[in-house]
Symmetry: C2
Subunit: 218 residues, 2 copies
């Protein structure tokens, strides 16, 4: 039996993270810099596949970070995966990008992943005993939530907006290592590319703004 | 002023980890598989530099994992860096590979990094309030040390030889993310390539074997 070949990709943050597990081993590649994801993603993907002596058609399964996060970056990653999978038929494992980030930190404390959304708002998810959904919060609202939370550690590029201990900067972005681990843990959840549903969590911003305009509290 | 360009490299484990920070951004590449480091390292380095549109002569500073770890792998990484630096004059920041591994785990508990050495022995280092040196221990000897240690987490490919909670497998190997972080933290410790001193910690194995042959306890 041929080895299953797995590609992983997250473009929801300033970092492009890629991983490839094939018969030739595990290859991981990432980039963070001033150039747009639209410019960098495809050349990086190409370099990764070349290093592994693989071709896009060899990929059976794709682990895809579906956000929440930077909309433009997300769309580029998701579109690229849809394009590939529409040709090759590869199945897709959808990964919550905030959960992937949370796994960078191995701690007994509550993990709070918090990323900057547009001005005054954050994407955030609290990882404690109940599994809460990723959401958009206003900064003030999330400050109040943290006050009642107990012993937590902040992870992500929105950490510095809040009080509390912050994890090292490298943990703020999805790493290829965790992308691959999570994809392999969730192989049974793979879907055809036509079923990809990004976690834009945008409606909440719209709702918050509407409430704001109407003068309601949040 | 030109941006300082930093290359990082660790070959002390089954994983080859590379990072490059240049004016074009941060690029990270790693490989783990059946092929030897001797076969893979230079092509990976080449792919990394090409992705970043950089050349070896552009590198001002090299962060180098000096072990302890697999001797052959280590020597290949160190020789490659020496070769590059002898031509370019790049300075080298020497990194304890076990310490780099330890930084993958963000926890309040004591971190015990433990890697398989030759049969019956491990390379290990305990990260608690006193800073202990990396050392070679016999498995039995290290078991006794762990018994008196308190609340710890095991990290590394020797973890399963011992009792206790083990960190996720991706944390067992030096990651490009931490290599780069540690190199930047230690820029002031950079030395010329002629002063590179690998942490082979081999003498201890020889000593242990000698004692064993003489019938002494360890």
């Amino acid at each position: 039996m041929r080895t299953v070949s797995i590609l992983c990709l997250d473009t929801s943050t300033a970092k492009i993270s890629l991983a490839l597990e094939s018969k030739n081993g595990v290859f991981q590649l990432s980039y963070m810099g001033r150039e747009k994801h639209a410019v960098r993603l495809v050349p990086l993907l190409d370099a990764l596949l070349k290093s592994a002596d693989s071709k896009p058609k060899d990929v059976d399964l794709i682990g895809l970070g579906i956000g929440p996060g930077n909309l433009t970056g997300l769309r580029i990653g998701i579109s690229t995966v849809m394009g590939m999978a529409s040709v090759t038929g590869a199945k897709v494992v959808q990964l919550n990008s905030l959960e992937v980030i949370s796994k960078n930190v191995v701690t007994e404390r509550i993990k709070v992943v918090v990323r900057r959304a547009r001005s005054g708002f954050v994407y955030a998810q609290i990882f404690d005993s109940d599994s809460k959904e990723p959401r958009v919060y206003s900064v003030e609202e999330f400050r109040e939530i943290l006050e009642g939370l107990g012993d937590y550690v902040l992870v992500g590029d929105g950490s510095n907006l809040f009080e509390g201990e912050v994890s090292p900067e490298w943990t703020w972005f999805p790493t290829p290592e965790v992308l691959l681990q999570e994809t392999k843990n969730r192989v049974s959840e793979a879907v055809p590319f036509t079923e990809i549903e990004p976690l834009y969590v945008q409606k909440s911003i719209a709702e918050l703004n509407l409430e704001r305009r109407r003068g309601h509290g949040v």
